[in-house]
Every structure is written in structure tokens, then in C-alpha cells.
Amino acid sequence: MTKAKIKIYFSKGNVGKPITYELVKKYDVMFNILHADINYGSEGNLITEISGEEKNVADALKYLDELDVKYKMYTKSIIRDEDACIDCGSCTSVCPSGALTMNDNDELQFDKEKCLVCELCIKACPIGIIKVEL
């Protein structure tokens, strides 16, 4: 089993094509949609985790290439200097995925699994302790 986090870009042409359905059917991979921002008939993007047998995931990505669907692999991740964090909370309201939240003790909680690496929180942190890691 392997997992790949990707962002699929939909252009006017391919919105509406059942790309995800095809992938599931053809390659026996599973989709975990983390974030979707598509309007029918226009452009948008879909952030999703594809999991399955290593070969199947690779083939699924190849299939996207063949269809000329543009996508981006997430090779980066977000890191936060936990000791320096002052729990101000400024980063939480820009986070589209709920990866950054305040817990019951009013401390910042970061759920890496949910992170879309959109990088919005980097600018929102007033003391500059959120960074991307390659």
C-alpha cells in the first residue's frame, strides 16, 4: 500500500469528466478527497489522497498524464516550531482544511494529516514560525 497526496487542476475542458470514477474503476485505488474547489463548467482544483498498491497508484498517475490532466504532487509539508509558538491563534482562521485549530486548553493543535500545504498559514503567523519543509 502506498499513498500520494496530489492537487488536480481542472480546466474548462475536463471539468465534468468523471476522472476520479475512472481512476477508481481502472486502477483499484482509493480516493480521500481533502479539499474541493470546483464549479461545474469552470475551473478549479481538487486536493486528494490516492492510496492503493504501489503499481496501481503509479499507473493511475500515468493515466492522468495521458489524459493531459495537470496535477501537482505534494512533496512538501508544513512544520511549526512548537516551542516558539505563542498560541495566538492567528493561523487558525485562514486554514481551509481544519488542520490548525485551537484545542480545549486554547493551545494550537496541528493535524498534519489534514494539511493541504496551501501555505496560507505561513503568512498568517505573526512571529514567523510556520515553514514549508521539502
Partner: protein, 382 residues
């Protein structure tokens, strides 16, 4: 009824009963105001948030030959030198000439508190008594003379929450505001906040000894834009911008845990300042004020793009919950000031008082109870 002098006697003997502004809420609920007021001597408050109207005076000492500093930078951040020869004021929001918004006066102040060397560059026109025209050196907190924080406006008693009605993300001193009411940001320590626990400034006044940036400080004046005449709820708590205080304290004794430079993207630099104020429980009325809870403190919502106005007010329990309903939609809410650290400040101040390391001071003179805010109009030059 207790006097501050009586409370101080108890503090000196290590017998004062001190609780934080969060703890007092539960105690008041269990025992009632009257009994709680008899038993509790002091309630400690705390706040740790971005406070732009902050800065510090530094006297660098004289060089040989001496200079009357005219334009000065500290780590490339301009400081104000229109005072006597080597007196400077570094303001929190001033930006670096080289790094721009990334590094500002707030960061210089934090680095100074940390004990780091600060690059000082000054120029002058030279006078008969101050012949030197240029100086490049370093200063730090051990080799300057006085260095004291002087913040013209801190600890705002309540602050409106911020939203953005436009189609574009806007970057403000209230943080990043997403388009079309994408989020609401607010800034308060709520039930822990100093002036919300003494809404009519009965005990907090000019001369009050406080916790400032990890050291002992004082309320030196009413803050700029002090607006005690603001509308208030039945509990006396203002329902928008109201009282403010100017504070001062020895910068050399402070800690970077409670003095922290900040940058709000595309807005600029600021400084997180930690303030804690003890409230003597002189009577039942004071106990009642300190027992105020988040659900009793309301604040309005302001459109930071300036296009819309709203009638709605939320209480801090609602804002703290992480989301509110705004214009029929669930909107995420986020704080800007740190509650964990506000709590820590109230607990530290409590500890100081319990260990007789901090006694209360009676205000020398009260803060104004009436005042109004003037607007800056475009006036004809006469």
C-alpha cells in the same frame, strides 16, 4: 470593606487569598458575591496580545567625542532622536530600512530584551558642544543607561472583531481576512483581561503597579484614545472600544516570553506585550466586576474593508467557540491574542503576590471617567 493597605499587610505576611480572574468566576458562583468578597483579597488579570502603540526609550550614554544624534537606526530600524543628545525612542511599528516589514521596532525591542547586541548607527550635523557627526557601534541592555518601555496605548478595554466583505483577501492588523466573510478575527483576553475586570476603573488608575513584560511596571497615564464614555451593558462592561492605559517599566528586567516582535503580513510590525494587573477586592462590587465571564462580554463586528456596517454583537464565549453564525452562514473565528499566555501571566502575578514579592499600590489619581474621541478633520490652514 477592605483597604488596599489592609490587603498589603496580608500580602506581607504571606496570608493574602489570591485567585485569577478565571478562577473567581466559579468561586463567585459557588459562594455568592458577598462571601467571595470577604474571603478573596486579590484577583489577578492577564493579557498577551499585539499592541502597536508600544515602544521604548533608551539612553545610549555619550561617546568621546560626543554626538547629538539626529537620525538614528537600531538594526537598520529608524528610531526617534528629536530629544536630548543620546535619548532615543524606538517605536514598535517602525520598519527596517533593509528588511522592510519582516523586521521592525517590535523585533528590535525583543532582541534588546534578549540581551543581544543591537547595531546603532547615528548621524548628526555636529555642534560646538557635540562635534561628532557619525557613529557606528553596538549597544545592548548591559551597556546603555536607562532603557524603559513606554507604551502610549495598551490593554484596550474590548476590541471589535474583524471581517472582510470584499471579494479579495485583505491583510490587516487584525490578521488575514478572507474574502466574502471568510473568517472573523478577534483580539481579547476576555474574562481575564485587565480593564474588563474593573470596568469603571475603580482600582486601576495612574500609578497602579502592574506586571509588564515579565517585570514590574506601572500605569503612567490614561492611554491614547481612552474612551470611558463608550456604551456599556447592564454589567458596566463596555460593548466596544473603551478605556486604555499608558504603561511603563524597566525594559532591562523584562523577558522575551512576554515581549515579542511580530509581523502582520502586508500590514507591518508590531509587538506582543504581556500585561497583568492585580485587582484588590475592596468590596462586594469589585468582586462582582471581576466575576465577569466571557458570555457577559460583547463586542461588535467591523468590516475592515470599510464598506459595510453591522448591527450584530457577539459575546466572547461565542467567538471563542471557533465559529459563529454571520449573515446566515457559519464563519470560522480565530483569536489574535494568546489566551494560554494571558493565563500564565495571571498565574505568575498571583504567585508573586502569594510569595510577598509584589504588593498592591493605590492609584495616585484615577483614570478619567468621562472623555470623548475626536476625529481628524481636513481643516483650512489659517
Amino acid at each position: 470593606m477592605k483597604t488596599v493597605a489592609e490587603i498589603n499587610e496580608k500580602i506581607k505576611k504571606g496570608k493574602a487569598v489570591v485567585v485569577t480572574a478565571e478562577q473567581v468566576i466559579q468561586i463567585a458562583k459557588e459562594k455568592g458575591y458577598k462571601r467571595a468578597a470577604e474571603e478573596i483579597d486579590v484577583v489577578t488579570t492577564g493579557t498577551f496580545g499585539p499592541m502597536c502603540s508600544s515602544g521604548a526609550f533608551i539612553n545610549t550614554g555619550h561617546s568621546n567625542p560626543p554626538i547629538k544624534m539626529q537620525s538614528v537606526t537600531l538594526n537598520d530600524v529608524p528610531a526617534y532622536a528629536g530629544l536630548a543628545a543620546v535619548d532615543l525612542y524606538i517605536g514598535a511599528t517602525e520598519l527596517s530600512n533593509t528588511l522592510g516589514m519582516e523586521y521592525g521596532g517590535g523585533h528590535v525591542i525583543e532582541d534588546f530584551v534578549a540581551g543581544k547586541d543591537i547595531k546603532l548607527y547615528a548621524k548628526s550635523y555636529g555642534t560646538d558642544c557635540y562635534p561628532r557627526k557619525e557613529i557606528l557601534t553596538t549597544i545592548n541592555k548591559n551597556n546603555v543607561n536607562q532603557a524603559y518601555m513606554y507604551n502610549p496605548r495598551n490593554a484596550y478595554q474590548n476590541y471589535p472583531a474583524a471581517v472582510n466583505s470584499t471579494d479579495k483577501t485583505i491583510y490587516t492588523y487584525m490578521g488575514t481576512l478572507l474574502p466574502r466573510y471568510g473568517n472573523i478575527n478577534y483580539s481579547t483576553a476576555g474574562e481575564l483581561s485587565p480593564l474588563l475586570n474593573d470596568p469603571y476603573y475603580r482600582t486601576i488608575g495612574i500609578g497602579t503597579r502592574i506586571f509588564l513584560g515579565g517585570a514590574i511596571g506601572y500605569v503612567s497615564w490614561q492611554g491614547t484614545q481612552h474612551n470611558p464614555s463608550q456604551e456599556r451593558g447592564e454589567n458596566g462592561v463596555p460593548t466596544s472600544l473603551a478605556g486604555t492605559i499608558a504603561v511603563t517599566g524597566n525594559l532591562k528586567d523584562m523577558s522575551t516570553r512576554y515581549v515579542k516582535g511580530a509581523t502582520y503580513y502586508k500590514y507591518g510590525a508590531s509587538l506582543f506585550v504581556g500585561i497583568g494587573i492585580p485587582i484588590p477586592i475592596i468590596d462586594e462590587e469589585m468582586l462582582m466586576y471581576t466575576a465577569v465571564a466571557n458570555k457577559d462580554i460583547y463586542t461588535p463586528v467591523v468590516d475592515k474593508s470599510g464598506n459595510e456596517t453591522y448591527d450584530i454583537k457577539y459575546n466572547y464565549e461565542q467567538l471563542r467557540s471557533g465559529s459563529v453564525e454571520f449573515k446566515g452562514k457559519k464563519v470560522l473565528t480565530a483569536p489574535l491574542s494568546s489566551l494560554t499566555r494571558a493565563r500564565e501571566i495571571a498565574a505568575t502575578l498571583k504567585d508573586w503576590i502569594q510569595h510577598s514579592n509584589f504588593t498592591l499600590s493605590e492609584a495616585v489619581t484615577p483614570l478619567p471617567k468621562e472623555d470623548k474621541i475626536n476625529k481628524l478633520e481636513i481643516r483650512e490652514m489659517k
